[in-house]
Symmetry: D2
Subunit: 308 residues, 4 copies
């Protein structure tokens, strides 16, 4: 049996150097190192790469990690909550602010501030968002899929660091299966009161299932569970294929029985993930684990990865 090697810190060490040493530790440290190893394999091998994104990742500062991964060709399919796209669009012209979790929420409301844990958003940015949305919403006599609408919106956002814009430029399909559950959905509905815009609720299904069918080998990074996790896994389930590599970063526990904390092993019983797959779940706040994982994996690639 291999032995635990007590972790040695060297001041100034790189992120990967630290993570590499975690691979001989226990608990979360080892899982994080496994995630990096699987991610390296995913990025260097011939895998169709899915990324699913839940939780307020963009307000928390994770936007450029995602758009950079897209631009580097490390994302083939993005499945995402509407909220992350709303905040992606807001960042293209406005900002989020460093707030405090322990705040007087009634006072915040009185001063026109909405709170996302310790991040603040000002009403004027929401107002500008609404104005922008009304100006870039697509008019179309043809019924669109959600993916098509996301692509058109992406083409009209004037910020190359935008997730939607980057996906548009890189031809990465963006799926937002709970589109009505977001301010983009709300704005689309308002727009459709006076202009021609119809989105078919089910059209995305065909598009993503086609992608799944076409995969030779596939890998998935699941950040935060929720609808994006389920939508990606369910789409693969419809096909005879299954994911070969899978990484899950979540704060939820399996014991609660919900999907966001469900083990990836559970997904094997469904046929969503291959029984031969390499997979790992890293429990913890993805604002820590996601940047560390990406930084470590990109460092490996830069230095000429030799995955084991």
């Amino acid at each position: 049996m291999d032995t635990v090697q007590q972790l040695e810190i060297e001041p100034g060490m790189s992120v990967y150097a630290l993570v590499e040493r975690m691979s001989r530790c226990g608990f979360g440290a080892r899982r994080l190192a496994e995630a990096v190893a699987i991610y390296e394999k995913m990025l260097t091998g011939n895998f169709t790469k899915f990324l699913t994104l839940s939780g307020a990742m963009v307000p928390a500062g994770m936007r450029h990690i995602v758009s950079d991964l897209i631009r580097k060709g490390y994302v083939d399919v993005l499945v995402v909550t509407g909220a992350n796209l709303v905040h992606d669009i807001i960042e293209s012209f406005g900002c989020h602010c460093l707030g405090k979790a322990e705040s007087d929420d009634a006072a915040l409301r009185a001063s026109g501030v909405s709170r996302i844990y310790d991040v603040f958003l000002r009403d004027e940015d929401f107002a500008a968002f609404e104005e922008l949305m009304q100006s870039i919403m697509p008019q179309s006599s043809k019924t669109l899929s959600g993916r098509e609408m996301m692509s058109i919106l992406g083409s009209r956002i004037d910020d190359e660091r935008s997730i939607l814009r980057s996906a548009y430029e890189m031809k990465v399909p963006v799926f937002c299966p709970a589109l009505p559950d977001s301010m983009i959905g709300l704005q689309a509905w308002m727009y459709s009161q006076t202009k021609k815009l119809t989105v078919d609720a089910f059209a995305d299904i065909k598009e993503i299932v086609d992608i799944c069918y076409a995969c030779e080998r596939s890998g998935i990074v699941i950040v935060g569970g929720g609808v994006p996790k389920n939508f990606a896994l369910q789409s693969m389930l419809v096909t005879p294929k299954s994911f070969d590599l899978a990484i899950q970063l979540t704060t939820d526990s399996p014991e609660n029985g919900g999907l966001s904390g469900a083990t990836l092993s559970e997904a094997i019983s469904w046929g969503k993930i291959s029984e031969k797959a390499s997979f790992v779940t890293v429990y913890g706040d993805a604002t820590i684990t996601f940047p560390v994982m990406v930084a470590a994996a990109l460092e490996r690639l830069k230095n000429g990865s030799h995955p084991p």
Copy 2:
């Protein structure tokens, strides 16, 4: 200051008798008692009552609690994940099984069993589900809202304990904002390949926003967070109204920054919940807290509630 009263157990005591005593305790016990008090107020007062449902509540055995609440007139609006509706439909003809969380998932797959934590589902029940769906899916030349489709499905399910059927009979609107992210969505898409069925992704927004506008006073019970939580809160946000009563049962923590664990106080900063609202979050597994809350509140009502 009121004092903690050490809880006294009396063998044979009713659920409410126990919960009532928890109101003078600390921590989760007190929160659960507050939830019951708020729920009693919601059910006895003149409130438009929202219920949002996430997590695998139906597989875990919470289906009849929901359908009974609907039939008793205690739910005016239901917002729910597609998965819960899928399993509601499966229960109308098939079953879920008592399994084990520690299982060999590859062996389960080999024997045609899908696992949801410690609940098992057999492939034949999924096959029967698919067959049923193809026979009850609505054909319509008119574009439907998701709510309309749910209502038609409900009318065609032959099981009075079904959530969908009960909602249909009681004229309770059912919103499933992530409809494509479910096997109902998948079946609808397959059906639409050969038959006429189109669902407008945004039509539900108008319907639920209209309900929110029409509310004089409103209360919400949020089970499990996720898309249903956000969709209900966002819909109220669009209006000048806000929720007057709110109960959240969740396993997520505020510290993670995600919506499922976000405090209800945070929702005040957005204007989703009134700053004068009574609200409480009960942290813990909703398969325990939801039945206890409902049993205690219904006992109060049966005995002639006199909310404080």
Copy 3:
């Protein structure tokens, strides 16, 4: 395979009636029902019954549940944190108050209030505690074990609902393995500056190990993990015996690797729990799960238990 039976609520139902129905549900509900079944077996069979108690259970109102269990003969060995005993003693003359978790802690300090989440404690009660302790501390030329000191303190507390007093009267040994880590320890040390009082740090080990050796069959209820959990399990480990029944109520998750969340299965690998044992972990706030479990089990016993 047995099927999930959807839970039916009947207004006015007893706690056991509700829990019994949870036995055919999934997730936490089923685990709670299993805990009740195991507890019923423990209380009706010929088992040496250990109870370990961590977390601020007494401030939160769980004191009388514990002292009643002791007086009913349902506890043979109590292993507990010092803090719970401190608060047990405070309750014998003073009180804890219903506070708020969201408080200005600096303002509380200024007004002489210490906070335990949403429970408040006034400085005057601590002062009275200190005075009482100095008056009831044992003077002894003989070196005492911690258990002996707890017994003497129990004999001098004038409150029959006290945990320490109840244990003294019922001859139930009380072990507090982190005694120095409590205000009892602090007071003992102050007392020993002028009076004769010496406690041997290791004497308790012999006493509890002797009990473990003498067990024919044994069961353990672990509330909250921590030092009390480990001390009880480690003591059994030293002997050729192991626990036959085990229930764990905890908010911690196995994934973190710490003992408080470790599965009871893990304890089998150590030989602390028998591989033939019946055991279950209920994840969640023990201020909810502990009263529900005890109420349900006592109801069974009152009605003439027939454990399966």
Copy 4:
């Protein structure tokens, strides 16, 4: 208001470079960056530095981080669980192994392996531990404090990377307030059956309280809560002083009401932490957050820290 700055990953970046960018993010990322800033201040300023250690940190590979901090003069007082010291001693001659969390625990027992989540320990290492302990236990006619016993054990461990040895050499007092709750305690008790060894349960209190009294300014790093957290905070509480800097790394949530998850703000109400203190809690697995925090802070110091 300062704005969130979307985090930029640069392949090859150092740990501090990454963490520094987290300071402009939200949620756990920002808290981790705050922890590093406070730790840097603690290590560069004139603070008496406390470190408390709970959870199976040594089996998980965190031993050398601790012993290096001690040898670098970055720890003035160590408060620790017995288990971590047991495993520190085992590492001085034996090893821990990389195991699997999903194991057949009965089979592990049969093959003489004890499991700590995904770390394995062989019976022969425990046997060697017991033998070593019987050979290095101090014989003393004088009653010892726990701290004295730890110091003597440290002097007799032949491994300069050992925590106990490093503390001995650096004259750092090691407090283990739940000493009987560990295999060191068990071995001490066995030894005392035939040799002269008595440890006064309360003697450590005086020693640590004296240190607290003598502090001009003080800081504390709390890894994992539990008894070590409480013992350190309680000792400061006895004095007119309070901690000026505090960092807590924990997987527990405040909502459960227990001490391990209690906010550091709560400690202000007790007077354990100064109301003017800088403090932060990082929620998550300490096998990730502790190495990252230490690596980042040491990098700052190496590069000539200029704390803000």
